[in-house]
């Protein structure tokens, strides 16, 4: 959680340090740099190396192991002795071929479910989360209470919220009592998807709310004051000041949620149940294979999911907000954007 709050602040800090160095400084620099680089580069490498080491142990190694494991098939049963052989046969890309061949229906069903959940839940969470953040940002009596109240669902572990919602969506649960009809939420069908989406949005909209709130708090009051003096209404202020300025924080939040949603597992598993086609996600396929002691195919599913999440994250960063992982040069662009509302103000007055 602490980590996630970094970007908005970092953006602000960067905005201040953004302006390019003066020409005089720039001319003098090269000579100094040659001497400084060797030493500071070595120093930098030294300082970064523990991080890289940890990353390669906890991220790179397991990923490579999973990739390697996905090339092995399940252990075979010897019909004579009745025992499973002790080693896994190397099958090359057969696990992948099976996923797109024999198990293609199930895979694509899970793929579309995963995608559907990601798009719909993140979409809803963004809208609701931003609304929550705006409410939490307001100064009014009992604000602390509202803030705490909004954050409660986020504090509930997913497995517990799954059980909670299963109770609500029971055949004679609260959900049915409220709508006055008996819908069997946990049976196959579109209603099962709806149940998952409701539970997921309830739980994670506060997360987006929290990050957006952090983003809102770094917007200087003067900007709004200026806008008010210029006579712009609340909607206009939101659209032209709040939203552009909170965008970096919002995009980080959405990216996190997107990746979270793409590997959704516990909620549909607990709320609706395993092997329900309507809510089966890619993670559930991998878990199903692993639980049947077929680690090769399970790794293959995990690798495919990894690639999918990776591509989505990449596309997200490229298409929606290149400044998410921007370097110094792009930071300047950022600061330019921050000034935009001010620029627009001059237009308005003119």
């Amino acid at each position: 959680m602490a980590k996630t709050e970094i970007p908005p602040e970092a953006v602000a800090a960067d905005g201040r340090t953004g302006p390019p160095p003066a020409p005089a400084q720039r001319a003098r620099r090269p000579r100094r740099r040659t001497r400084a680089t060797a030493g500071s580069a070595r120093m930098a490498a030294l300082l970064v190396s523990p991080t890289l080491l940890v990353l390669s142990i906890v991220v790179l190694y397991p990923t490579l192991m999973a990739l390697n494991e996905s090339l092995y098939g399940p252990k075979g049963l010897d019909p004579k002795t009745g025992f499973i052989s002790s080693s896994e046969p190397f099958v090359g890309l057969k696990n992948y071929a099976d996923i797109f061949g024999a198990a293609a229906d199930r895979f694509w069903n899970a793929f579309w479910n995963t995608t559907f959940f990601a798009v719909v839940t993140v979409g809803l969470e963004t809208v609701i989360g931003v609304a929550m953040a705006l409410i939490m940002h307001r100064a009014f009596r009992g604000r602390a209470l509202v803030r705490a109240g909004i954050l409660v669902p986020w504090a509930v572990p997913t497995a517990i919220s799954g059980l909670l919602w299963r109770w609500i969506f029971n055949s004679d649960g609260i959900a049915n009592a409220l709508i006055g009809r008996q819908i069997l939420w946990t049976t196959e069908g579109f209603h099962a998807k709806v149940a998952v989406i409701v539970a997921e949005v309830w739980k994670t909209a506060p997360f987006i709310g929290l990050l957006v709130l952090a983003g809102l708090q770094v917007i200087p009051k003067e900007v709004y004051e200026a806008a008010r003096i210029d006579g712009s209404g609340a909607l206009r202020q939101f659209w032209h000041i709040t939203l552009p300025l909170v965008k970096p924080a919002l995009l980080v939040a959405m990216l996190f949620r997107c990746m979270d949603a793409l590997r959704m597992f516990d909620l549909p598993y607990i709320l609706i149940g395993a092997q329900k086609n309507s809510v089966e996600t890619l993670s559930m396929l991998a878990q199903n294979e692993a639980s049947n002691v077929r680690f090769g195919p399970a790794s293959a599913y995990a690798v495919l999911l990894f690639l999918y999440v990776f591509l989505v994250a990449l596309a997200f960063v490229r298409l929606l907000g290149a400044d998410l992982v921007a370097d110094g040069g792009r930071g300047a662009q950022n600061s330019r954007r921050r000034r935009m509302p001010l620029a627009r103000r001059t237009e308005v007055t003119a």
Partner: protein
């Protein structure tokens, strides 16, 4: 600094997606390969010393006192109780992880009856010497669940069978002499009961039809009760038969004509029990555990149990329960064997029956008048277990039960005809038992 943080965070999150999914696989992957165990046929149970006993969470509080009793008798061979989660899948998962890493942390495993074949085939558990256990005094179907390819791989510790719970007060008022023995009788009885003013809004029957292990149990029971089989004695699937179709048709037809209420398709054990206790059901298929709980509810004194009904004779139940096995990678196996003998002895299982209402494997305990006084359902349960057919005993049980649930559920919800569902099921089962 900013660049670094957000870049690594992003990357870390991307990777953690796989990590989250593959966390389990990876821990297991590290150990693939290695030397195979050559002790398949005969294991010498040697070595004495401290061991561990691994089972699901003990909610009854009776396991630790029993282990304490053992520990005072054998101070040099102390047993430590390792409690796993209540959820059976999670227990299996942890035991498999322990086996895949060839760890000696677990010695004696308490296995669900349906896991025996899988654990034995993977050589995660040792073959046990049959003469060490009084198998002849145990109920035969229970002993069968502990065997794989004719060899004994575990010792029966407890059993469980399905029973038909019914409302004695309503049946009596409707002028029905005794509980039904066939499905047709049950439906006829229901029709009579439903005419009573007291039975307004009641439904007839429910079992466990949610898409989970309970559906496999209920489907197998329906098929077996109609004279069919899911898999034969050798584990070969034989489910695309007219008899099996009669069984599935009972479930499908009952859902269609309202004998089984629509919401019962979401019922697990607890949902059904609650519906029965709140007077929504005339008949209920459930395990013995519900008996004592119902006695504390509003229907206390107005219900009884009977063997499950069948197509044209009393039906047959599936089997629940646990067996105890020795992990192949454990140390101090001589102690382990002694401990299993102790835990599965008639005395110990009688204690478990008295204090935790666990159904014992020994036949004579079901006829003990004092125990019957405490648990009036014991004679019915004995009949249920004696006529029981174990769920498919196959190595790939996980795949088999998934396939059964998939097709039975499709038939129940009407997305497939029962004939088509059984045909597809036969194909699926052949595929997953073929390897």
């Amino acid at each position: 600094m900013k660049t670094k943080t957000s870049k690594t965070t992003t990357r870390a999150v991307q990777c953690s997606a796989v990590l989250a999914v593959g966390g389990l696989l990876i821990t297991a992957c590290g150990s693939s390969g290695g030397s195979g165990s050559g002790q398949s046929a005969t294991t010498s149970f040697e070595g004495r010393g401290p061991i561990t006993y691994v089972a699901g969470k003990d909610t009854t509080g009776t396991v630790q006192p029993t282990i304490d009793r053992w520990n005072t008798l054998h101070p040099k061979e102390k047993v430590t109780f390792i409690q796993l989660p209540t959820d059976a899948d999670a227990q299996r998962q942890q035991m498999i992880q322990n086996a895949e890493t060839k760890s000696d942390a677990y010695t004696v495993l308490s296995l669900d009856v349906v896991w025996t074949s899988e654990f034995a085939a993977h050589q995660w558990i040792d073959k046990l010497p049959e003469q060490r256990f009084p198998l002849s005094r145990m109920l035969k179907p229970v002993v069968e669940t502990a065997k794989y390819r004719g060899g004994l791989y575990a010792a029966p510790a407890s059993s469980d069978g399905g029973m038909l719970y019914y409302r004695t007060d309503l049946l009596k008022k409707a002028g029905i002499g005794g509980p039904p023995t066939t499905w047709a009788q049950m439906k006829a009885d229901c029709a009579k009961v439903k005419k009573l003013p007291e039975a307004k809004g009641m439904s007839c029957y429910a079992g466990q039809l949610q898409k989970y292990e309970g559906l496999t149990v209920n489907f197998s029971e329906a098929v077996n009760s109609a004279g069919g089989t899911v898999t034969d004695a050798n584990g070969r699937p034989d489910v695309d038969t007219p008899a099996a179709k009669n069984g599935l048709d009972f479930l499908v037809g009952s859902v269609k004509d309202g004998t089984i209420p629509k919401e019962a398709i979401t019922y697990q054990e607890e949902d059904g029990r609650q519906a029965f206790q709140s007077g929504k059901l005339v008949f209920l298929r459930n395990w013995p555990y519900a008996y004592a709980l119902a006695a504390k509810s509003g229907i206390a004194g107005t219900y009884a149990v009977a063997p499950l009904p069948g197509l044209d004779a009393p039906g047959s139940s599936s089997l629940g329960g646990h067996n105890m096995a020795v992990s192949s990678y454990a140390r101090n196996k001589a102690t382990a064997l002694d401990f299993i003998t102790f835990m599965t002895s008639q005395d110990t299982t009688a204690t478990f029956l008295k204090d935790a209402s666990l159904a014992p494997p020994y036949a004579s305990l079901y006829d003990d008048p004092r125990l019957i006084k405490q648990y009036p359902y014991l004679p019915v349960l004995k009949q249920s277990i004696l006529h029981a057919v174990p769920r498919p005993r196959v190595v790939q049980y996980g795949d088999v039960t998934s396939a059964v649930q998939q097709e039975a559920y499709a038939a129940l919800t009407g997305t497939k005809t029962s004939a088509q569902a059984l045909k597809d099921l036969q194909q699926d089962l052949q595929k997953c038992t073929a390897q």
